[in-house]
């Protein structure tokens, strides 16, 4: 009997055991070491020397670029995250429509996400070149003088957002999978009630996919703060450092300036910021994310509370 009880408590842990082992073996060591390194001066070519909170103090008081990059990344995240999610959801809805040939479109929409980043950035460089780019050439045929996308700071962030929206396919696919797996009879019931497509979307589809919305929201917040590759290859952080994202700032500190200790401090500050944002999103999620599994739980909780009187 005892053995059985033990087995029951141990079962969940057995399920998550692979991750726990992986975390202990592969992840936690490097994580802690990078935290330790953030208190050191580490020029890579020689041994690290301890400097206490020096890296953090420098970052907040001396390094103007830290604040600038932080603001650029916040701005990017504020535009990119909602925009990308709306586009992804829109496309996902579009490719679930029961029309002929939709399969082909589904594949077409996914192609950009498949293309490797290095080539994508070269192509975008050709397209967006201010003087000799394809886009401005086409605009000039229409009699419009296009902006210097990658030279004018006012346009560069937009150019990066346009180029990164190209990779929306992944998120689209996640939404698509979720929407496709909503049982048909749920909609059928609604159709009988006379609900239109808009009502169906807002009162059936949207609530059901809130768990994946939460997932996409959190992961895209994280990835927008960590965006490095695209800006490194497309704009190099320019023009006039207007796309010098926080991720690029950290990367350059580590590998260009060989200040690995400082870069680690950059990374951990970013970690705290993302963690806080995520925590806020998670806190709020109980109000707007609906889990089937919790439907019962919350009901149970409520009754419990009643029993327990006020607290």
């Amino acid at each position: 009997m005892k053995q059985r009880k033990f087995l029951k408590t141990a079962t969940p842990y057995l399920f998550i055991m692979p991750w726990i082992i992986g975390f202990l073996v592969f992840t936690i060591g490097p994580l802690i070491l990078s935290l330790i390194m953030s208190f050191f001066d580490w020029p890579l070519t020689t041994a690290p020397t301890f400097r206490g909170l020096g890296n953090y103090i420098d970052m907040f008081t001396k390094d103007k670029q830290f604040w600038k990059s932080l603001i650029i990344s916040l701005k990017y995240a504020a535009i990119f995250v909602p925009l990308n999610m709306i586009i992804a959801l829109f496309l996902a809805m579009l490719i679930t429509q029961p029309v002929k040939g939709v399969k082909v479109f589904r594949t077409i929409f996914y192609i950009p996400a498949v293309i490797s980043g290095v080539a994508v950035s070269i192509i975008w460089g050709w397209i967006l070149n201010g003087d000799y780019g394809v886009l401005n050439y086409l605009l000039s045929l229409l009699g419009i003088k296009g902006p210097k996308w990658l030279v004018d700071p006012a346009w560069a962030l937009l150019a990066v957002i346009i180029a990164s929206a190209f990779g929306v396919g992944t998120m689209m696919l996640i939404f698509y999978t979720d929407i496709k797996n909503i049982p048909v009879d749920v909609y059928e019931a609604a159709s009988i009630d006379g609900a239109g497509p808009a009502r169906k979307f807002f009162s059936i589809t949207l609530p059901i996919i809130t768990p994946t919305i939460l997932f996409n929201l959190i992961t895209s917040i994280i990835s927008s703060f960590q965006q490095v590759t695209l800006v490194m290859l497309l704009t190099g952080g320019g023009p006039l450092k207007s796309t010098y994202f926080y991720g690029l700032f950290t990367y350059n500190n580590a590998f260009k300036h060989h200040k690995l200790g400082y870069a680690s401090a950059n990374a951990w500050v970013m970690f705290i910021i993302i963690l806080l944002l995520t925590a806020v999103v998670f806190k709020s999620s109980s109000a707007w994310v609906f889990y089937e599994t919790e439907a019962k739980n919350s009901g149970a909780k409520k009754t419990k509370k009643k029993k327990g009187g006020r607290k």
Partner: protein, 273 residues
């Protein structure tokens, strides 16, 4: 579901417009791959090559041992995908379908492992793999994938939490233990999300080049993505071969996606109610 003719037309127009946005750069890239390098950068730009240089693809493929790279890429992609799908479904099931002590804190830790950029954990990780003697092997790229990555665990957990609670209770009454429930009941209905994780992972690994760059050394171990990146030099980039290899590299993921599409939809029949 029936649809009026009008709404069908609207849908086709929307599909068409988005397709143009997505396809235009790709088509431009595709045609450029057949040009000479001089023509590719010519101004004003032309869409079609004046002469179709099909040999560009052959030359590009031969310029590096891409056959070897392809095999390495396949190895890494297949092995990580099997590992991710198995381990992530287990872990996600644990987080989604049970209540246990420390669950929330463990889940938060899991999420937070995504939040530290790789730049700063990479060197400690390198040291660790060096200690294991894994540098210049494919192991650092493959083995960690068998222990569940936070991204996919989170994704699958979200799907699993959408399945009503009473679903497994019926099975439990039948006397099945938790693992049987997981394997026999949940695996089949999770198929769409398993496929999704597989497709996403395949794509990420197939195109990843930072990992291979750091952990691999000699060219017999390189993956396609790393070979592709090495067309880009400090002072000059070999654009045409790079485009050719990029296009070749798109083919396998697209084929897999086309096949996978079918199975992603199939899940609907697994009447979740």
């Amino acid at each position: 579901m029936k649809m009026s003719k009008k709404s069908k037309i609207v849908i086709y127009i929307l599909l068409g417009l988005v397709a143009i946005y997505f396809l235009a750069p790709f088509i431009y890239m595709l045609f450029s791959a057949f040009k000479t390098e001089g023509e590719a950068i010519a101004y004003p730009p032309k869409l079609l090559p004046s002469e179709w240089h099909f040999e560009n693809f052959i030359n590009a493929w031969k310029s590096q041992p891409f056959g070897t790279y392809l095999w390495n890429s396949i190895l890494v992609t297949v092995l990580t995908t099997v590992g991710q799908v198995l381990s992530c479904s287990l872990v996600a099931y644990g987080f989604a379908r049970f209540n246990f002590k420390g669950k929330n804190i463990l889940f938060m830790i899991l999420l937070s492992t995504m939040m530290i950029p790789w730049d700063v954990t990479m060197i400690p990780q390198y040291m660790e793999f060096n200690l294991f003697g894994w540098i210049n092997t494919l192991k650092p790229l493959i083995v960690p994938a068998w222990f569940g990555s936070a991204y996919y665990v989170f994704l699958m957990r979200q799907f699993l939490m959408g399945i009503p609670k009473d679903f497994e209770e019926a099975a439990r009454i039948d006397g099945a233990n938790q693992f049987q429930i997981y394997w026999k009941i949940f695996m089949p209905i999770m198929k769409p999300s398993l496929i999704l994780v597989g497709v996403l992972n395949m794509l990420t690994v197939w195109n990843d080049y930072l990992g291979p760059l750091i952990f691999l050394q000699d060219r017999s171990k390189y993956t396609l993505a790393l070979g592709l990146a090495s067309f880009k030099g400090v002072h000059s980039t070999q654009i045409i071969p790079m485009l050719c290899i990029t296009i070749i590299m798109i083919i396998p993921p697209i084929i897999i996606f086309i096949i996978a599409q079918k199975y992603i939809v199939e899940g609907t029949s697994g009447s979740i109610k």
